[in-house]
Amino acid sequence: MQVTGSERIVELDVRTQDVDINMGPQHPATHGVLRVLLRADGEILTGAQSHLGYLHRCAEKIGENVDWVQYLPYTDRYDYLSAMNNNLGYSLAVEKLLGQDAPERAQYLRIILVELNRIASHLVAVGTYGLDVGAFTPFFYALREREMLLEIFERICGARLTYTFIRPGGVMNDAPEGWFDQVAAFTEVFDQKWPDYWNLLVENKIFIERTANVGVLSEEDAIAWGATGPMLRGSGVDWDIRRDQPYLLYGDLDFDVIVGKGYRGSVGDCFDRNYVRMFEMVQSNRIVRQCLDRIREGEVQNEEVGMSFACPPGRSYVGIENPRGELGHWLVSDGGKIAQRCRVRAPSFVNLAVVEHMLPGCMLADAAAIIGSVDIVIGETDR
């Protein structure tokens, strides 16, 4: 086709061939073993296809073959950055089938632990997101505070990553002496250090240029694609399960839900998603402080629930607010000691699905920024 202007003739049909580019499975920006097949026309992406399953460990099949409590360690392994939250989601679903509750002290301990775990998880998310867009230093600052948290976890349950601490009916053991002081010290330190990440990373001009107006996910798309967690809130939807369908004692606690408003660009861009994570850490810290004030002496395990039990027949679905979105466990019992069906609704799996549709039309260099902003953990997408 030729367009004849007043002075010159412009050729518009210079055709180039689209190039297929393999991103992953070992690409560092895919945060694990994810392979994204990109198709690019020059610098512009024209298509994307995710290939997953490299880390598929058959968690749902295992759930149909082991006892209710024996399955608990497997929950640690889906989202290994927030294992406490995974333990909690599964334990609540089992408790719902049993019709049992955890004692008050155990509930506060659970909230403290899952919120600390949320901070640890978001620190990795924000730190590695800096790596994805070219900022190396903030990652080490983030890991410095995460190290304090891992020591707190190690002290209470002996493990740094896969805890198996929260279990049906309560928690494994009470906190050791001085543990609450250690947590209180962390909340102080974290408040002092948080501005470092803000100044080093989020307010950095290069970071804003790389993330603002990039990978925009509209509110309608976020809802239609089933996005949850920071991905949904980043797109401007005011929804948090902790506030809107409270579990544990969240209904009594005071915290704000952070929603993306297009702070540096448009609503639902990569900057907003990162912004939501940054401020959620502050809110989690607030929740931990409130729990430290309220926790009283008492039991930490419901004696009715032992280590080996049969659940009454029935179905229970429990969705909780994980750092990455809604982690749902749909358990079906036929009255036995083993689940008939153990379905895991993994937030990363669902949030990743929309990426294929966000990438076309973006620049090739933004692919890493967009995939990173979803904050996926491959252990969870593949289960």
Binding site: L98, D101, G226, S316, E326, V350
Partner: protein
């Protein structure tokens, strides 16, 4: 034992029941053939019940007593698409949170397809089940209404051998393309080897 917060929090089975009852009435008046299943055990178990059930499970299976969430059974699975459209457009169930299936037992002639809905405006949840015969496991795909069903249906399809008619891209997602059998069916037999790698 300190039982508290009975009707709020995770034990919101009461709110699930309330939402299910309202939805049921609307679906029935729209002419769909639906049925509500409500648990008949109390939400919170009285002291000692766990021990009783543990003992009882050894003797017999108390099928008539169950606990947990109530759910709606859709008797005519051919009306699934219309029901989903009605749920989203008329009743405000904006999100399909999960879509999966289950195999009750190796002897059973049917699979169950399960759909979990979430309404951000009503702050409520809903669960719908349909039955799928094992002889011709075919269901309508709901991707045209809830985009998120895409990957969920691909997963259920490879794990249970269900064909979702109308699915835009029915490839395997977690399993390799040449995997044989449907792993989450109860009559699945683990393979001896896969491409020369021993699986035992």
């Amino acid at each position: 034992m300190n039982h508290f917060k009975q009707d709020s929090g995770w034990g919101s089975s009461a709110s699930i029941l309330e939402a299910a009852e309202k939805t049921l009435a609307s679906l029935q008046s729209a002419g769909f053939s639906v049925e509500l299943r409500v648990p008949n055990l109390p939400l919170l178990a009285p002291d000692g019940e766990a021990k009783r059930l543990k003992k009882k499970a050894k003797e017999e299976n108390p099928e008539y007593e169950w606990r947990g969430d109530s759910y709606i059974v859709l008797k005519d699975s051919a009306s699934l698409l219309d029901v989903c459209r009605h749920l989203r457009d008329e009743l405000g169930w904006e999100q399909l949170i999960d879509c999966t299936a289950m195999d009750p037992s190796a002897e059973s002639g049917e699979l169950l397809g399960c759909y979990q809905f979430l309404s951000l405006s009503l702050k409520a949840r809903l669960s719908i089940e349909i039955s799928i015969s094992k002889e011709s496991p075919e269901v309508q795909s709901v991707t045209s209404i809830y985009l998120t069903a895409d990957w969920h249906e691909r997963e259920a399809s490879e794990m249970f051998g269900i064909t979702y008619s109308g699915h835009p891209d029915p490839r395997n997602i977690l399993l390799p393309d040449d995997w044989e059998g449907f792993p989450l069916r109860k009559d699945y037999e683990f393979p001896e080897e896969y491409h020369g790698v021993s699986c035992k």
